[in-house]
């Protein structure tokens, strides 16, 4: 697998005081592919994820995107390097409309850290934002609800808004944190299909942390499995999910894994 155009985590180690949350983890999430990161509660998925997006500082190890070392970079710099993320507890701009949410996904990056750019758009930026917003809304099927306040939508719709906002941001890799939590089985399946469509249409890469095995099985090209902060398996999704060690660690011994999110 090429690492030139990918998010590469090498020998990641994260400790919180005496607790070792992640130990010697290496993974690669290439652009244009969907990479899954799964594991039971407390396995270190979120910690790994947060180390990738800059909310947790690794004790040791590196996080790179292509050739750029992002290990200690603040999250705004990661955004400028092309990495976007969503949140399990959705961080939408609740008082803004869906359209404004999606538009801000692009505009936030244009504003950057320059006071002048935060005050005034540069020439042509308004058109770029409008085009990116329209495209992302269309991809996620949100045109009809574009005028509604994000805070007033159902969970399923809010997940779509979060995805659309990230897509409008024109990132090369998206980190999605349990996007199907709070969705019912049907919505999860639809969401998984959408992820596939999005990757095919835009060529974006996705690193997906997920509880719902259906989503993982449906969309992931490659899967990493964590348990107690360590990598216990990796490989093609269909192979990994039938692996005995994985099932014992994550799913118990039931033959058919169908964990639906609570709704």
């Amino acid at each position: 697998m090429s690492t030139a155009d990918a998010l590469v985590v090498e020998h990641l180690e994260v400790r919180f005081g005496g607790v070792r949350a992640v130990h010697d983890l290496s993974l690669t999430a290439p652009v244009g592919r969907i990479t899954g990161l799964i594991g039971p509660n407390g396995a270190g998925k979120s910690t790994t994820f947060n180390a990738c997006s800059g909310f947790v500082r690794p004790t040791s190890g590196t996080v790179r995107f292509g050739t750029v070392d992002l290990t200690g970079a603040p999250s705004s710099r990661r955004a400028h390097c092309g990495i976007g993320r969503t949140f399990q507890r959705m961080e939408l701009f609740d008082t803004l409309s869906v359209r404004e949410n999606v538009a801000l996904g692009r505009e936030a990056r244009m504003a950057g850290t320059s006071p002048l750019r935060q005050l005034l758009p540069a020439a042509g930026e308004a058109e770029v934002v409008a085009a990116a917003t329209a495209r992302a809304l269309a991809l996620c099927g949100l045109e009809a609800s574009a005028g509604e306040r994000a805070g007033s939508l159902s969970t399923g719709q809010r997940r779509l808004v979060e995805l659309a906002r990230a897509l409008a941001g024109d990132f090369r890799l998206l980190l999605l944190d349990e996007p199907s939590s709070g969705l019912d089985v049907h919505e999860s399946r639809r969401f998984a299909e959408l992820l596939r469509e999005v990757v095919d249409a835009t060529g974006v890469g996705i690193l997906l942390v997920e509880h719902d095995m259906r989503v993982i099985a449906d969309v992931c090209d490659y899967v990493y499995v964590l348990d107690f902060g360590e990598l216990i398996a990796e490989g093609i999704a269909t192979n990994v999910l039938v692996d005995d060690v994985v099932r014992a660690a994550y799913l118990g011994t039931e033959p058919v894994p169908v964990p639906g999110g609570p709704s």
Binding site: N41, S53, P74, S75, S76, A79, H80, G84, R85, F87, Q88, R89, M90, E91, L92, F93, D94, T95, L96, E100, A103, L104, G105, E107, A108, R109, A111, G112, T113, S114, P115, Q118, L119, L120, P121, R149, G151, S152, L153, S154, T155, R158, R165, G169, E178, S181, G182, H211, L251, G252, E254, P257, P259, G260, G261, P262, S263
Partner: protein, 647 residues
């Protein structure tokens, strides 16, 4: 040496009371997640009741103290628990407004009944003294210190060594999980608040003989408690008590120098704010309890009016403004002030309403504007418009300083840090040559503009309204600009904004500079209106009052600024004379009610769990229920259910 010891004795005595009050504050904060700005006010209420029972009703002091501290303190605590329960899931500005509402109401009641004058209270503890190392120590002082140590130690023991204490520490993190272990979360909170209330009243009763009874002075005991709590990092009870001693001793020792150098006159009183400000700024992000736990769910705050409605409003507004001087006669000056206050509230609303940044030092910014305007216009004879602009510009760097805590802190800790900054300005800078000097007020002339005589109230009224309108236009434009969108994003989720590439630090500095500029302009308008600029108009207490009034004036930035200004400046002039003293009480009660009403929907978030979500509303799912179920896996109960489903 013995001279140093004198200050140690004084400092440790008052420090014990500060520490004790701080311990009660931390206890209630840790168990409810609500930082109580009215904590010192509970001390006020307790000490006045003690005065009432002991001095006026003639009860023996132990009986009066028992009733005021144990019984009344517990009742007050219970009342506060009912308020705090509603606030558990509310965003910080709602918490601040609600507890400040309680503060205003109780302080107002005390002022109405006992006037704002300071009553002296004889010492009820023995005043006979003994000598240690050349220093005379009274038995009363010994008793105060011993009571402080004993009560704080007892509370520390309860919190760290008993089952109840474990429950108290757990209840704020996860009340549901606590209930699974067989505790009633509400009862645990009640006990904590009753203890907190009693300890606050104890502090008030112990310190009243040495500082006297004064509604505002005792209310500021909360600041000493904040300072002590900051040294305990808002979690450690023993360190909070020690923090009280540190503040007491440093303040007492500072008093010695303050007597020698008039510049440092405000220093002793400023020690707690300095401690608070420094600790908050130096604290590692996330190391203070609760700082990152609270998730804000914002209410609707911005919706542009349709153009036609705007046009009608503008026409009606213009007509009203034109008619005001003819209608109100001699009351015109208060309308001039209200134009100035519109600018104040616009600049404050930009922070609080648009961007969700709770700033409790706006009075200080306006003061800087007013004082520097006085110097530009009266001392340097700059033309009026130039002086107004210069006043705004001078205030900008001060705004940038206030942005520093905003960058490092959010929510309740930002409110605290700005509160401390405001008090610091008031105590150390207002009286210095930099701002108002030592006189009652700096005189301000009303200079003539070319072709316009500002000497008459009528002409100046139109000019002041013009400035307010211009400010409103700029603020409205900002709201519609890219910065406006970013600011609204900042209020909803700074995390998302940062993740998507905006440098939030830049945004905050811009925001505070912009707001400070208008605050400075407002200071100039107000000073010109009243022909003077004095420190009393911009006391820190006013900053609290402004936040509360703005909160009850509605959700739209422009209209709420006008309403707030009218409520603050004009309404009192039209009330019957006998009612005016009750106005702060009314403001306080309304602010509390408004905060609780808006907290109600946040309260719902806290209570609606998976099984309640269905009853929230049939048909359109409420955002509240939606969010709750989205967070389902985060809640231990839901997570456990989910796991049971899996296995």
């Amino acid at each position: 040496m013995s001279q140093f010891l004198v200050y140690v004795v004084i400092g440790i005595t008052s420090g014990s009371v500060y520490g004790l009050t701080g311990v009660g504050l931390v206890l209630t904060y840790r168990t409810s997640g609500v930082l109580n700005f009215a904590h010192g006010t509970m001390a006020t209420a307790g000490s006045y009741l003690f005065y009432e029972l002991w001095v006026r009703a003639g009860l023996p002091w132990p009986v009066a103290a028992f009733l005021a501290v144990v019984v009344f303190g517990a009742v007050l605590g219970l009342g506060m628990e009912r308020v705090a329960r509603r606030l558990a899931a509310a965003p910080p500005e709602v918490v601040v407004v609600a507890t400040v509402g309680v503060l205003l109401a109780i302080t107002g009641i005390a002022t109405v009944r006992y006037t704002a004058a300071t009553l002296t209270l004889a010492s009820f503890l023995p005043t006979s003294s003994f000598e240690v190392g050349g220093v005379f120590v009274t038995w009363g002082q010994v008793i105060v210190v011993l009571v402080g140590i004993a009560v704080s130690a007892a509370m520390t023991y309860v919190l760290s060594h008993t089952r109840l204490g474990t429950a108290m520490r757990g209840v704020v993190d996860d009340p549901d999980l606590l209930e699974l272990t067989g505790f009633d979360a509400m009862r645990v909170r009640r006990v904590a608040w009753m203890l907190g209330g009693s300890v606050a009243c104890l502090g008030g009763v112990l310190i009243a003989p040495s500082i006297g009874l004064n509604p505002q002075l005792l209310t500021y005991l909360v600041v000493q408690a904040f300072g002590a709590a900051a040294i305990g990092r808002f979690k450690s009870l023993p360190w909070t008590f020690v923090g009280g001693w540190i503040i007491g001793v440093v303040a007492a020792y500072g008093g010695k120098y303050a007597n020698q150098y008039p510049v440092l006159l405000g220093l002793p009183a400023s020690v707690p704010f300095v401690a608070l400000f420094v600790v908050l700024l130096a604290a590692k992000p996330g190391s203070l309890p609760g700082a990152t736990l609270r998730k804000r769910i914002t209410t609707e705050r911005f919706a542009p009016l349709p153009p036609r409605a705007t046009a009608v409003l503008v026409a009606v507004g213009a007509g009203l403004v034109a008619a005001v001087p003819g209608l109100v006669g001699p009351k015109l000056p208060v309308f001039i002030s209200s134009a100035g206050f519109v600018v104040v509230f616009l600049s404050l609303g930009l922070l609080v309403k648009t961007a969700g940044q709770v700033s409790l030092c706006h009075g200080a910014l306006v003061a800087v504007g007013a004082a520097s305007f006085a110097r530009f216009s009266t001392d340097l004879h700059l033309p009026w418009p130039v002086a107004v602009l210069a006043a705004g510009l001078v205030t900008v760097p001060v705004g940038a300083v206030v942005a520093i805590p905003a960058i490092r802190l959010s929510g309740i800790y930002l409110a605290l840090a700005t509160f401390a900054f405001g008090l610091l300005m008031e105590n150390l800078v207002y009286r210095s040559f930099l701002l108002f000097g030592t006189g009652p007020a700096r005189p301000v002339d009303r200079p003539a503009l070319p072709g316009l005589d500002l000497g008459s109230d009528k002409a100046y009224f139109y000019v002041a309204v013009g400035v307010a309108v211009a400010t409103a236009v700029v603020v409205a434009a900002v709201q519609r600009s890219r910065l406006g969108r970013i600011l609204r994003g900042l209020a909803d989720s700074p995390l998302a904004l940062e993740t998507f590439g905006t440098g939030v630090t830049t945004t905050l500095v811009l925001l505070f500079c912009l707001s400070a500029f208008f605050a400075g302009v407002a200071g100039a308008i107000l000073a010109t209106g009243t022909r003077g600029a004095g420190p009393a108009d911009y006391a820190s207490f006013n900053s609290l009052l402004w936040i509360a009034i703005l909160a009850i004036s509605g959700g739209r930035l422009l209209s709420s600024s006008v309403i707030a200004a009218l409520l603050l400046a004009v309404l009192p002039q039209y009330l019957p004379a006998g009612v005016v003293p009750y106005q702060p009480i009314a403001f306080g009660v309304i602010a509390l009610a408004a905060a609780l009403a808006s907290a109600n929907r946040f309260d719902l978030v806290a209570r609606v769990h998976g099984d309640l979500a269905g009853s929230a509303r049939v048909g359109a799912p409420s955002p509240v229920a939606a969010r709750r179920s989205a967070d389902g896996l985060r809640s231990p109960v839901a997570a456990r259910r989910a796991l049971e489903g899996v296995r």
